[in-house]
């Protein structure tokens, strides 16, 4: 059931961290870049506002899954670029696996019809 004009929807609770990690797995990015990249990959379905993005980044940094580094952007500004740590990479791998398993299970439940039981 797709709406004709998809509105940016709120992120599924608790998945923001995983998505940030995934985004950063491709290349180091600054805050705005992460938001843009998420929106871009999800084809506009997910839009992360700064009010959840930055606290998320702070938490991930505190947990040692990402690390920040001040660098100069292509426009010659200073910006804090985040990149995955080894631990972050491992966490992403684990969470991706878990997520796959969970969504598959949820999908099966949602699609189940009486006949299959």
């Amino acid at each position: 059931m797709m709406e004709s004009e998809p509105k940016p929807s709120d992120l599924v609770q608790g998945t923001l961290h995983m998505l940030i990690l995934k985004t950063l797995a491709l290349e180091p990015l600054h805050g705005y870049g992460i938001g843009q990249r998420l929106e871009q990959i999800s084809k506009g379905v997910f839009r992360v506002n700064a009010g959840s993005l930055f606290p998320g980044l702070r938490r991930l940094e505190r947990s040692g899954l990402i690390k920040g580094e001040w660098r100069v952007t292509e426009n010659n500004r200073r910006a804090k670029y985040y990149s995955l740590t080894a631990e972050g990479r491992a966490t992403l791998k684990r969470e991706t696996r878990d997520w796959g398993r969970q969504t598959a299970a949820i999908a099966r439940i949602l699609e189940a019809s009486l006949g299959e039981l």
């Binding site: 600054h30 009010g51 930055f54 998320g56 938490r59 200073r78």
Partner: protein, 883 residues
């Protein structure tokens, strides 16, 4: 690991707060710039792009806030913020803060002080293996307190025949003269220990070894073990102490070990310096270890069985069938033996309850002060609610403020308690302890972890307790928009009722406290004045020490006659006499006797108290003479004579006259003829009834005594210098060893009661004053609030009298409610007190409660006086204009 990392990062962030903030600012600025550039690239003009980007970012402050909240340190920061804000609020009203903190410091300090004594006496456990398995046997002779003192034979009997103990052992505490190699001798507390004591306790030596059964064999080479404190103070912890010789009562013994640092002794109240093995049988205090899993009830039952034959033996040997009635108890002894501290338990528990009540009143008092302040801060709360402050956040703020008060109060309180407990211990132990015990108790009363935890718990509980009412009203604070409409609506009325409730509670608690104090005071005055049988005031007591003076008994008797003549010549001395014991000096002789013409069953036999006194003794003490004649110096060469008290006369002779009858003491050949009867007087114990007493003439049979009693017309101590001079003149070589007054001597025996009465009196007055202050505050506030109404009443013709009545009636209304709750509680608690201390029951009846009620009503009238006067002086015109 992640936890630790977050912890470190948080601490890091706290200390580099500005730096972290700046970085965040810069990052957000970068975000905005990037967003604007993005929009420009998308074709928007500069103004629209900036606006769109800012909308996308949202409130920078909000984003920063939620980023800050992502770290745990923000929680601490906001608590710290609360604390600082609370501190500011308190500083802004220093008077209120000082009073509240003072009241709390007093309440918490009193509780901490009593608790640290209670802790030292009852709660400490010894640092030994499985202290919960340790028990002590306690025997109780009818009418006497528990005792843990047994014969060696009984110890052996229990050791060899019980089935309930893993081991049983004992100690004999004593004073010892010790002198390390060549040093000066000093007298210290020491203990002879049965060979298995240290292994039964499971103690490991700090150095060397402890005493073992080999050391305690008869004829074993002497050894000594010293305390860690002694090792520290005399040997500076030098291991060379091992093998050093120490002279104990003149006998050299090598020091073989040092007890562990944490172990200070088996008997709370004594900290022994040296332990010696018991190499010969002696009487001892017992301690036993129950077999694992053995219930104490079963052990108790067996002890009673083992006790039986011993009792029969003692009863037989001493001709005292009362011994058969004595019972054996077994009490937990994980904290050590109760030899000394047992007597402090009940008074300390009573004091704990009393100071607990005081703290409750203090809490209620501070709560009503805070509530009144909360009334004044409604505006502030309303503004905060309107600005979007969370209600829980407000509650937290208010609770933080009250906890701040409680914590400050308790810090001061611990300081008070530190000195208070030491002073209290000195007071409690200033009286006379049982003969032979150390004159001051060595107790560890410095606050330990348990005391500090107790205080922290009390502070927290009080803070929450008195903080809850204002917190609740903060929770329900209406936003400012509705503040104006609220006026005197329901919420305010209920809050006012709550304030009244707090005052009522204070009155009720104070009545309970005051009646407890009244009971203690009545008990004390009863002990001091009830049928003593002598006049305690204006009697000087002088003890001489003729030992080594070179005089024999006959010479002494003659010299004392001269001395008495000198005493009588001193101006202000009415009479003087020699005696063996004076009332309540702690000891007396007693013996069984056969009375001519009187048959009694063996189990009815009782000991008679004996006292040797000289002529004019009864006159001096103020004991009334009932019949017959007094002793004379001239009795010296005549047949033996005796004077008996009424209790004795009644028992042996009923209605008949004892004069001319004879009595013979056991193991004594010649009879005494009874020549006089005197009134009953208490000698051993103020709590007990006067025993049957026989007085014998100190100038007969060479029983001359070296104690003198002088009745004076002036303050007794005034004549003391002349008394000393007379002694020096008459008896060149005899020392005056002690001078005191009968009154002091009597008081020394009831120190516990005096201290409890004094403290409970002070605490009761404090509590009542707090309640009165609370009442005053409420009335003053009410009058201020009702100024208008009172003005209208006066304008309509109410007189000053009517207005005064209005206020007093309000006060009395609250007091009546308080009494309705307090009086039954007071009666109930006095009944509980009676059941614990049966002696109290005779003391007072309903008098203390009645006195408490009167005191409370008077207090309330005093509290109402100022507000009532203010109300009566309200000028109607001004009051109405004022509105």
């Amino acid at each position: 690991m992640p936890f630790i990392r977050r912890l470190v990062a948080g601490i890091h962030a706290m200390f580099r707060k500005t730096r972290v903030e700046q970085e965040l600012d810069e990052e957000l600025r970068g975000f905005l710039d990037a967003a604007v550039e993005d929009k420009l690239r998308g074709g928007l003009n500069a103004g629209d792009a900036g606006r769109a980007a800012r909308i996308e970012l949202g409130s920078v402050a909000a984003v920063k806030d939620s980023v800050r909240d992502a770290g745990w340190e923000s929680a601490i920061e906001s608590v710290w913020q609360d604390v600082r804000y609370g501190g500011r609020m308190l500083r802004r009203s220093p008077g209120f803060a000082a009073i509240a903190i003072g009241i709390l410091a007093l309440g918490i300090g009193a509780n901490t002080a009593i608790f640290s004594l209670l802790n030292a006496v009852m709660l400490r456990t010894m640092p030994v293996y499985q202290p919960s398995q340790l028990v002590e046997p306690l025997s109780r002779y009818p009418g006497e307190p528990h005792r843990n003192g047994f014969s060696w034979e009984f110890f052996e009997d229990v050791r060899d025949h019980n089935h309930v103990f893993a081991g049983v052992t004992g100690v004999f505490p004593t004073k010892l003269q010790i002198a390390p190699d060549g040093a000066e001798a000093e007298t210290v507390d020491g203990e002879y220990v049965e060979g298995t004591l240290f292994s039964l306790l499971g103690l490991q030596p700090a150095l060397g070894r402890l005493i073992d059964p080999q050391d305690a064999r008869a004829g074993a080479a002497p050894v000594a073990v010293v305390s860690w404190a002694y090792w520290k103070s005399r040997f500076n912890l030098n291991p060379a102490i091992l093998g050093a010789q120490i002279k104990v009562n003149g006998v050299a013994a090598p020091i073989v070990g040092v007890t562990p640092r944490a172990f200070v002794g088996l008997i709370p109240g004594i900290m022994p310096v040296v332990w010696l093995p018991m190499t010969r049988p002696m009487g001892l205090g017992l301690i036993a270890r129950l077999k694992p899993g053995m219930p104490i009830e079963q052990a108790r039952a067996e002890m009673n069985v083992l006790h039986r034959p011993r009792l029969a033996q003692i009863a037989e040997k001493s001709h005292d069938p009362q011994w058969l009635q004595s019972v054996m108890d077994l009490e937990p002894a994980g904290g050590g033996l109760s030899l000394l501290t047992g007597r402090f338990r009940t008074p300390l528990q009573a004091l704990m309850v009393i100071v607990g009540l005081l703290l409750l009143i203090a809490c209620t008092n501070v709560a009503s002060m805070l509530l009144a302040r909360g009334e004044a801060r409604r505006q502030e709360m309303a503004v905060r609610v309107s600005l979007g402050a969370g209600r829980l956040r407000l509650v937290r703020q208010v609770l933080t403020e009250s906890l701040l008060l409680a914590v400050t109060g308790s810090v001061l309180g611990v300081g008070l308690a530190y000195f208070g407990a030491a002073a209290l211990l000195r007071m409690l132990t200033s009286g006379r302890l049982p003969p032979g015990w150390p004159q001051h108790l060595a107790l560890q009363i410095a606050p330990d972890l348990r005391v500090l935890l107790f205080t922290a718990g009390v502070a927290l509980a009080t803070g929450v307790l008195f903080g809850l009412p204002p917190a609740w009203s903060a929770f329900r604070a209406p936003p400012i928009s509705s503040l104006r409409e609220i006026g005197s609506a329901g919420t305010r009325r209920s809050r006012r009722r709550f304030g009244h409730g707090l005052v009522v509670a204070q009155v009720a608690l104070s009545v309970v406290l005051l009646s407890a104090a009244g009971l203690c005071v009545a008990h004390l005055s009863n002990l001091r004045n009830r049928d003593l049988g002598f006049q305690r005031d204006s009697v000087l007591l002088v003890t001489l020490d003729p030992q080594g003076s070179g005089y024999n008994r006959v010479q002494l008797a003659n010299l004392y006659k001269d001395l008495l003549a000198r005493f009588h010549a001193i101006p202000g001395v009415r009479s003087a006499a020699v005696n063996a014991v004076t009332p309540i000096d702690g000891g007396a002789a007693s013996s069984f006797a056969t009375v001519e013409g009187f048959q009694e069953k063996p189990e009815d036999r009782r000991r008679l108290m004996q006292n040797w006194v000289g002529p004019r003794y009864f006159e001096t003490l103020g004991t009334p003479f009932i019949a017959g004649r007094d002793f004379e110096f001239a009795d010296a060469g005549r047949p033996r004579v005796a004077i008996v008290n009424q209790a004795m006369a009644r028992y042996y002779f009923g209605g008949g006259s004892p004069l001319g009858r004879h009595l013979t003491f056991e193991r004594d050949a010649a009879p005494f003829e009874i020549i006089g009867v005197v009134g009953d007087a208490k000698y051993e114990d103020l709590h007990a009834v006067a025993p049957r007493t026989v007085y014998l003439n100190a100038f007969q049979d060479g029983r001359i005594q070296s104690r003198f009693a002088l009745r004076t017309d002036v303050t007794p101590t005034v004549v003391a210098p002349q008394v000393r001079r007379a002694v020096e003149d008459v008896l060149k070589t005899v020392r005056v060893s002690k001078v005191t007054t009968l009154s002091d001597q009597v008081d020394a025996s009831i120190v516990m009661e005096r201290v409890v009465a004094m403290l409970s009196g002070v605490v009761g007055l404090l509590g009542a004053s707090l309640a009165a202050i609370g009442l005053y505050g409420l009335l003053a506030y009410t009058v201020a609030r009702r100024t208008n109404e009172i003005g209208v009443r006066m304008a309509l013709g109410a007189t000053q009298r009517d207005v005064t009545k209005l206020v007093v009636k309000a006060a009395m209304g609250l007091v009546v409610f308080g009494l309705l709750a307090g009086v039954p509680a007071a009666f109930w608690s006095t009944r509980v007190a009676y059941s614990i201390v049966p002696d109290l029951a005779t003391a007072a009846g309903p008098l203390p409660v009645a006195a408490a009620v009167v005191a409370m009503v008077v207090g309330a009238l005093l509290a109402a006086y100022l507000p009532a006067r203010r109300a009566a002086r309200i000028n109607p015109t001004e009051a109405l204009r004022h509105s």
